[in-house]
Symmetry: C2
Subunit: 304 residues, 2 copies
């Protein structure tokens, strides 16, 4: 029976009651509701019958609310507000204005366009929560497949990852990082081949395999195999070791935004020094689509 009652009392009924309760005048209320007075009168009466409670006191010519009417006015307002939120909230989600984006990124991307893209996105989509996690390209692919990450920022090429989509986001190139007191560091122009006999500091191959290979290949093209004397996890660690003179390294040019008095950066003009940063994803939630869309500047994405 309770279910039956709820079925009969509609949002429209509540809207009508609120209008009458606020105006305390059937004609004015009907006008506000863009309807005529008779159906309004009967609607209110049916409402009272349905819930079996007198809500409006019909004293001669003056209307008043019973205590129950006051209560229903309050509750009906809240119900209407909630109903409206149901719709606007849903539209927000659909439009990607609300939601959660779990964003992964490779460490080096923090020195490119990504931070600015994040800042701009947060301004335009304040209700989207962003969860950021640094991870290697391989780890991001795994997380996206596992559904624990929505979007990743990685360095292509990807291997065995035909199931994830890829969108170019930023480009960068490799450059040399030299200790400032190193002979080459004082020299104006340095060629990559000049490093053939120098000890290298590099990240382990497990951390960013594709990127690692690109460095090796680049050196190979310059005619040598880099002698890796020291490995370190993370670009910052690599650079710290370069700073104290443990060796030279090849890092993304955007890392030169990371300043250290003991390090000198030198460009590499060899072909193959360029690399890209791309978004990867599989099923884009609307909010994740908003992010990729906004950051990559492309127009539309099919959302899940």
């Amino acid at each position: 029976m309770a279910i039956d009652v709820r079925a009969r009392v509609t949002l429209r009924t509540m809207e009508q009651f609120v209008a009458v309760a606020e105006e305390l005048h059937f004609h004015r209320a009907a006008e506000r509701l863009n309807m005529s007075q008779p159906p309004l009168t009967s609607a209110i009466r049916k409402l009272e019958e349905d819930i079996d409670v007198t809500l409006i006191e019909r004293g001669n010519r003056v209307l008043g609310l019973t205590p129950a009417g006051e209560k229903f006015l309050e509750e009906a307002r809240e119900t209407l507000r909630q109903a409206e939120q149901a719709i606007t909230g849903t539209k927000d989600v659909a439009a990607g204005r609300t939601g959660l984006v779990r964003l992964g990124y490779v460490g080096s991307s923090l020195y490119g366009r990504l931070p600015d893209a994040i800042r701009a996105f947060r301004l335009q989509y304040p209700k989207v929560r962003l969860e950021l996690r640094e991870a290697t390209t391989a780890a991001q692919i795994a997380a996206i497949r596992a559904g624990t990450m929505d979007v990743g920022v990685v360095i292509p090429p990807l291997h065995h990852a035909e199931d994830v989509e890829l969108d170019r986001f930023d480009s960068d190139r490799l450059c040399m990082a030299l200790p400032k007191d190193h002979p080459l560091g004082k020299q104006g122009r340095v060629k990559l081949s000049d490093l053939s006999d120098e000890p290298f500091v590099l990240w382990p191959m497990l951390e960013g395999r594709g990127f690692h290979l690109q460095v090796i290949r680049l050196c190979a093209n310059a005619g040598f195999v880099p002698r890796v004397e020291q490995e370190a996890y993370g670009m910052h660690a690599v650079l710290s070791l370069v700073a104290v003179g443990l060796g030279v390294s090849v890092v993304p040019e955007s890392m030169s935004g990371f300043r250290d008095d003991r390090i000198t950066y030198r460009p590499i003009n060899d072909a193959g020094s360029e690399f890209e940063l791309s978004f990867i994803y599989r099923d884009l939630s609307p909010s994740a689509a908003s992010f990729v869309c906004h950051a990559s500047g492309k127009e539309k994405y099919k959302v899940l």
Copy 2:
């Protein structure tokens, strides 16, 4: 336009969507809703059209919710819950199960049935808030007229108060209060006329005029005019002064529940020693009606 949309999305629609979202199966959902499948299908489609958001992913033979659908499921559930509360809450108010009762009472009523009545009422109507305020009969009448009090517990008769309704609640009688070391206090039987020459402690006439007059009249019938030597506000104060020997007094018998080693109570058998405690009220809110109804044991009251 937003208003238009809200007008089209009804509670029924939400109920239908919730059923489909929970079952992920149109036929089962329709069965649960006691309707057939085709109109359910079209209702959901119309809902999606109305808010212009895809809520249900119709993958071949398997249904799934889009992120927006998840959101709408959550919000629709909340809306339905709120709508149901609007009705049940209103019914609670109408039935007097919820609300506020501002109850006034004369001090002496605290030693009669009132405390028990309050306790029992609170057990049966836990959602009704009770505001208690001690006040004289006259003050209660004024407060009820002013609309700042719902129900009063007073000692009739009332004067110039034809506009308030009166309901007998409890009865009591007057008794003598004597200092224990007073000669009369040691005597087994005491007649009221024995007090004719004793100094009296009484409350001022302003505080409980009708009650005061009853004492005077009672003494007059016993053949004397009480010599009031000391006035004190409140029964407790009166009794305290009796306890220290400042005089004798006549107080409600129920006050003998207030024990003091220095006071002896003696019954008054004279006609006219009885008095009543009554509820007074004007417009009973449902919760106030519940209270009066419950306390006085009567069945039904017309509620405002």
